[in-house]
């Protein structure tokens, strides 16, 4: 059986420093891969490689048994990547930011008001995002996770600046996604709460 997502022998070199080499990972449907490591260990660089944003110095990445370089369109359509930066424009309101990402992912229309209410942003939908707090901006950025139907999520530090209740709600959404057969790769320093039956962890060590 072919794995949903796998990578073999990945190496990444930044400014003459080897961040990691000969890294293997596999991910099946319904699994969550948590990547841990110190600051500067190369977590974000690894996620960018996996998201197809940069090419690895060595190694190959497979999506459903195919090299991602050979099925870029299909891979990109199955992927929801939220990077270190939020992808939120500060001059736009929460509603406008969500409408932008909904169009970009070609998602069906949903009632953004209800969604924002669920995310604890009721009453703030018409404020430009620079007037929201960091945690509220992060919630707006993550709102698209409640809309998307992409099977693979790659999230860089999704819990940054979120409060406990938001973290709980996000983890609940993670479990929903995994139960529906999705897979996800997440970097976080935060220990994930119990209830993730298919949790894998990968520790990147800091190298000189």
């Amino acid at each position: 059986m072919t794995e949903f997502f796998s990578a073999q022998g990945l190496s990444c070199i930044r400014q003459d420093r080897v961040l990691f080499e000969q890294l293997d990972l596999t991910l099946n449907s319904g699994e969550l891969l948590q990547i841990q490591g110190k600051n500067g260990a190369g977590k974000s660089s690894l996620l960018r490689l996996l998201a197809g944003l940069s090419t690895p110095d060595d190694g190959t990445i497979y999506f459903q048994g195919q090299l991602i370089a050979e099925c870029l369109e299909q891979y990109a359509a199955s992927l929801c990547y939220i990077g270190h930066q939020s992808g939120i424009h500060e001059q736009l309101t929460a509603m406008e930011n969500i409408a932008f990402w909904r169009a970009a992912y070609q998602l069906p229309y949903v009632d953004s008001m209800t969604l924002l209410g669920e995310l604890g942003l009721a009453g703030l939908e018409d404020l430009p995002c620079h007037m929201l707090s960091a945690g509220q901006q992060r919630r707006v950025s993550l709102a698209r996770l409640w809309l998307t139907n992409c099977p693979l999520w790659i999230l860089d530090e999704p819990f940054t600046a979120l409060d406990q209740s938001a973290i709980q709600r996000l983890q609940y959404r993670f479990r929903q996604h995994l139960a529906q057969g999705g897979a996800m790769i997440v970097t976080t320093h935060q220990p994930l709460s119990d209830g993730f039956s298919c949790l894998k962890t990968l520790e990147l060590s800091y190298r000189w």
């Binding site: 090419t55 992808g87 500060e90 409408a99």
Partner: protein
């Protein structure tokens, strides 16, 4: 998708008025200073008008383009659009369209006033409107390209000018030649046809280059 993106850009322009008002004011200021600088002699101004109008238009479009991708790059919007792939081209097209709507179109609209300032004759005036109408979209396409290439550079302004101004030169030559020919009562269809050809060629190919430039800048 493109229409949603265009609406987003227009909403941004409505909130960041300096982005499109500054280039427009720059255009007007340069053109009002010229008669003061070179003297009010009508014949002299009339001869110089095509060149002055086009140089001012060119520089003001360049002024508008520097910040085009800056915010979206800093916020990670570009990175996530590149990862998404399918939305990148509509995003580029929306940027081009709104850049023209916010800087090119106002120049076309105020060009009658400019024509009066410089004492342009009616025949040359029509040619000026036509060349601006055809030429400013081309200016927009090229300046979006420059902005895409330099968006990751910290102080990209002068680099942008160095990269893009040479590409403007053919446009400048043919546009001012058309206005000059019109001023002398000669046909200028040839120059206009070349301008249209340059616009179509750029519109077909440059968006691909812009998308690649964005991709390279985030990888």
């Amino acid at each position: 998708m493109v229409s949603v993106f265009i609406r987003r850009e227009l909403a941004l322009l409505a909130r960041q008025k300096a982005d499109w008002l500054n280039p427009l004011l720059f255009f007007i200021i340069v053109l009002t200073l010229f008669p003061l600088g070179v003297g009010p002699e009508p014949n002299q101004l009339r001869i110089m008008a095509p060149g002055i109008v086009w140089i001012a238009a060119l520089l003001s479009v360049l002024l508008a383009s520097e910040r085009l991708f800056r915010d979206d790059y800093r916020n990670g919007v570009i990175e996530q659009l590149v990862a998404n792939r399918q939305a990148l081209m509509p995003f580029v097209l929306a940027k081009i369209v709104t850049n023209w709507l916010s800087t090119g179109l106002p120049l076309v609209v105020i060009s009658p006033v400019v024509a009066m300032l410089l004492g342009v004759e009616p025949a040359a005036f029509v040619a000026m409107m036509l060349t601006l109408l055809i030429g400013t979209p081309l200016l927009s396409i090229l300046s979006v390209l420059g902005a895409a290439i330099t968006m990751a550079a910290d102080k990209g302004g002068i680099l942008l000018a160095l990269l893009i101004l040479p590409l403007y030169i053919p446009l400048l030559i043919f546009a001012s030649a058309a206005i000059e020919a019109a001023g002398m009562g000669l046909p200028y269809n040839g120059q206009l046809a070349i301008l249209v050809a340059m616009l179509l060629l750029a519109f077909a190919l440059v968006p691909l280059a812009i998308a690649s430039a964005l991709r390279i800048n985030v990888s």
